[in-house]
Symmetry: C2
Subunit: 313 residues, 2 copies
Amino acid sequence: MPTERRVNRPIILGIVGDSAAGKTTLAAGITEILGPDRVINFRTDDYHKFTRAERAKNGMSPLDPAANYIDVAGQHLRLLRDGQPVLKPVYDHRRGTLEAPQYVEPREYIIVEGMLGYTTRDLRNCFDVKVFLEPAGELRKKWKVKRDCSERGYTPEQALAMIGKLHEDSLEYVVPQRTFGDIIVRFYPPDGQSDESGAHLAVRHTLRPTLPHPDLTPVLDAGAKSGIHLELQRDIDGKPVDVLEIPGEIDDRRAKAVEDLLWNLIPEAAHLRDNVGRFTDDQDRQAMSHPLALSQLLIAYHMVKAALGHHAI
Amino acid sequence: MPTERRVNRPIILGIVGDSAAGKTTLAAGITEILGPDRVINFRTDDYHKFTRAERAKNGMSPLDPAANYIDVAGQHLRLLRDGQPVLKPVYDHRRGTLEAPQYVEPREYIIVEGMLGYTTRDLRNCFDVKVFLEPAGELRKKWKVKRDCSERGYTPEQALAMIGKLHEDSLEYVVPQRTFGDIIVRFYPPDGQSDESGAHLAVRHTLRPTLPHPDLTPVLDAGAKSGIHLELQRDIDGKPVDVLEIPGEIDDRRAKAVEDLLWNLIPEAAHLRDNVGRFTDDQDRQAMSHPLALSQLLIAYHMVKAALGHHAI
């Protein structure tokens, strides 16, 4: 993406949320938009202190910051942000083991996925854009079973048991980080379609005034069920936020209008828009979800703006 | 060691030399003097990029800086010097494999052993004291066979073959670092005792004016074969140096006089002098070598002086 780049350091995005909250799917689309060869995908899970076998013995939760080299994760992000390479540790999710580290050189964009990215002020200060993912609970369970069975060698029963076992830890360590998100993204099945887990999910973005969000007024469509809505609300913590709703049934015309508006705001990236919004559905077919595509685009918009120096305040 | 410490950062010693040059033995004694709980032992071999099996395929020499994460080694030393922890890579010498990294926190003293410590300016700038070890060639072969067979699972033939195979690489990559040593230490068998490889080795210190060396005048003993000698010479590169000779036959009285002088110069460390100069001889007995003890003490002296701020120029 030939941007007129003004900021001469990597722009860093955080995507934080529970296990199977959809971090990797969201990150993949944003990586495609920004250009895979310009992006490092960085996972804070790699900073686990213990193997799965060691945790089984010492009883530590992988969600406990004390079970992770949180300080080194922050140090490595600062070094990358500063243009230096790092020797990044590697956690093998399939085997649950700690492997030899990998040499990573900085690129224009760094997308950080993890469960604990906003735990410390030191880490939070690394990010240009902070996203928190909180899909509807039942939806996350479906995603968890699908992912853990296909990629990590678990049975469905084991995957569900893990959600239950980690529930308390999630409430203690992961959920409190929601308050640090600039954008809180919640995918959920539309009313009366509780089985939906793919292309027709709706999405709600809770937008905090900590970022200059794009003006979506021209494409808002408050009256129509298939249009997007923006509403001033009080967040669950009582603070004022904008809530952007993108329905699962959004039609192609309306989705395209929103995409046009956003692409026009970042013309530097317009030639890459074909890559947006693809994901693998239940049948492992490439599928297209407007709410996912628009979410990825809204976040990529902030990354490009940050690279152009428009976020500096 | 309760020093009146003035310098509020780790003091870093480099011990650089070929494989089996005696780096670990020298470092062990200095670690004892400074206090093991105040010292980190740091090996640049841990920054190997490739496993032994990978090197067998790609033909890279472990001595080639390009086969090592030299930049990250320097970065880690700077971070430690700056008071930050690092996640240090780990090379397993016995198995020839790269392992999960280890969390290392800074301590008062860092002793860096390795074959490539002075390769880049970036690395060289990390050190307060730079030692280069160059034992007599035949002596190093004996040490190599002994160490590789007892600790690394090689046969004597394999160990000797490695020296031969790495000879060219040593000349290209290791030997040129000699020029950066503040102190060049050469252990060698005394005349007519070519079989000596332990307690009765002589040692020669080539002292460059890059450090303020202690005034040894009161204990010099130029006339006696069993005394120590200091002589102004031209180094092999033509530059002026002091050459300190400590004979293998140095008697207990003379050795004690030198030790007294040095300990008196660093009274902060005097209570630890019992730990100096022990090593394991060919029969794995604890043995005592005056030349080794004095070498360790001379180097520890510089470390303590640096911690006291006396080396800052």
